[in-house]
């Protein structure tokens, strides 16, 4: 089993959990287990074709899976997976925040 760290913006889809324990021998399986446990997170990580969205950064330990073998990157017991979101500041996702265009954090 592997610990997957969930960033604050996505915790709304993991019942507020900051860490989720997932099974699987590679990243794809671990993410499948995550989306099986929390189906509503799926569209935030994957596009309609089932591919990881380009702005989603997933790290195994200290390394970005983009620098390893992508979703085929193996994971083993005790590994730590981390999802790293784009955050912009006061209003993380434009158009939805109450802040004006260029207001600063």
């Amino acid at each position: 089993m592997t610990i997957l760290r969930i960033p604050t913006p996505l915790r709304a889809y993991t019942s507020g959990k900051s860490e989720v324990t997932v099974g699987g021998s590679n990243v794809a399986e671990a993410l499948n287990d995550l989306t099986a446990q929390f189906p509503s997170i799926k569209p935030h990580l994957f596009n309609e074709g089932g591919e990881l969205r380009p702005f989603v950064n997933l790290f195994v330990g200290e390394s970005n899976i983009k620098d390893l073998q992508g979703v085929d990157t193996p994971v083993k017991d005790g590994d730590r997976l981390m999802l790293i979101p784009s955050i912009a500041g006061g209003s993380p996702f434009p158009l939805q925040g109450e802040g004006q265009g260029m207001r600063v954090a």
């Binding site: 760290r5 960033p7 604050t8 913006p9 996505l10 709304a12 900051s18 569209p43 935030h44 969205r53 380009p54 702005f55 950064n57 790290f59 200290e62 390394s63 970005n64 983009k66 620098d67 981390m82 790293i84 979101p85 784009s86 955050i87 912009a88 500041g89 006061g90 209003s91 993380p92 996702f93 434009p94 158009l95 939805q96 925040g97 109450e98 802040g99 004006q100 265009g101 260029m102 207001r103 600063v104 954090a105």
Partner: protein, 384 residues
């Protein structure tokens, strides 16, 4: 010309001079160095204060906002006495008091593709204290094109990120985030707020990195990203590599000049109105007040989060938070007329988009939200 230190300055900076890593030569270096801070808000406040205190000789401040009392929970460079003033002027006054020996340049304008290169070219480091994607990508690209380090900090609620993006020696912001998330894909817990001390922590880390880089000491956060969570009190580091396909700093970069960042990020201009679902949907608070006097049973749909109802509420309104509107629209009758509102009008505009695409037609968006209602109709309610 290298400026030396005066006797007064030697006394002022004596705690620096005592450390061999800084010393007299390091302090002279700081005095002859410069930093541009984009944004004079939550992140820019501690950055500017600490760089000024440290004796960085010239500090540039870019912001076009004015100080609001709701800023003071985190934007510690400003104060109650400067509410209503330009942020750059408020900050300049505070810095002049903290350290009259430094030069503070103020740019009371938005940082845009038109002025960014001109503003940034004469500074040694650029510090990203913005809160939106277009300005972050602009800040990154300007730093890459000018060959300057970009001291990055970003916050959201309890999470912070810090790195030094310096394309000459490591990855840039775009290497990690080639493109922003499409607007609206990830929920903004937002309208969301931020723990006031969080930008203090993150901005102070940015100031630390800036000073290290200006002095040329220590290990800067180049090629590393710090992830901080205040609730867990966790600090995690990950390694960042240069992306060979990076469009601004990769070997085959195709972006060679500044672009239209609002278009790139799919967000409206600096002053665009995100609080309207379109003129046809709008209702003003006066119109609503008048409608309610004729039709007290008019359905009011409040799409704010439940905890916001404690702050201010309109009696009789039905609460369905924006994030639940899509799932719970069966609770609403599309034949019945309703007025949708939130704090300021942007979430309710989104709710109207969602409901409209599901076939609802008889809806109005309350312009200015409950804050306008509190300001103009029911003055017993607070504005927040």
């Amino acid at each position: 010309m290298i400026e030396e230190l005066t006797h007064n300055q030697i006394l002022r900076y004596s705690r620096h001079l005592l450390m061999p890593e800084v010393g007299l030569q390091g302090q002279i270096k700081l005095k002859n160095s410069s930093a541009l801070i984009i944004g004079t808000g939550g992140l820019g406040s501690p950055v500017a204060l600490f760089l000024a205190a440290a004796g960085v000789g010239r500090i540039g401040l870019v912001d076009y906002d004015v100080v609001d009392s709701s800023n003071l929970q985190r934007q510690v460079i400003h104060g109650t006495s400067t509410v209503g003033k330009l942020k750059v002027e408020s900050a300049r006054e505070r810095l002049a008091d903290l350290n009259p020996d430094i030069q503070v340049d103020v740019f009371n304008e938005p940082f845009t593709s038109e002025n960014a290169l001109r503003i940034a070219k004469d500074y040694d480091v650029i510090i990203d204290g913005t809160d939106n994607f277009p300005t972050r990508y602009l800040t990154n690209d300007v730093s890459v094109f000018l060959g300057k380090p970009n001291i990055y900090g970003s916050i959201f609620r309890f999470d912070g990120q810090v790195s030094v993006f310096y394309a000459k020696e490591g990855p840039c912001y775009r290497c990690l985030f080639p493109e922003p998330p499409p607007p609206g894909l990830v929920p903004s817990c937002a309208e969301g707020g931020v723990l006031g001390v969080l930008p203090g922590t993150v901005g102070t880390l940015q100031a630390t990195e800036a000073i290290k880089i200006l002095l040329g000491i220590g290990e800067p956060l180049i090629g590393k990203l710090l992830l901080y969570n205040a609730l867990d009190m966790s600090f995690d580091f990950v390694k960042l590599k240069k992306n060979p396909n990076c469009r601004v700093c990769g070997p085959n970069a195709d972006i060679k000049e500044l672009i239209d960042y609002e278009e790139f990020c799919g967000v409206p201009g600096h002053h665009a109105d995100d609080t309207s679902a379109g003129a046809g949907w709008d209702i003003t608070v006066q119109e609503l007040n008048e409608r309610l006097s004729r039709d007290p049973n008019l359905l009011l749909l409040d799409v704010r989060e439940p905890h916001e109802l404690e702050i201010a509420a309109i009696k009789g309104a039905k609460n369905i938070p924006l994030g639940e509107v899509a799932q719970r629209m069966s609770e609403l009758d599309s034949a019945e007329e309703m007025v949708v509102f939130c704090k300021r009008g942007s979430r309710s505009a989104r709710a109207i988009e969602i409901l409209s695409s599901a076939g609802f037609k008889k809806m109005k968006n309350l312009r200015g939200g409950i804050n306008a209602w509190a300001e103009e109709v029911d003055k017993s309610l607070p504005v927040y």
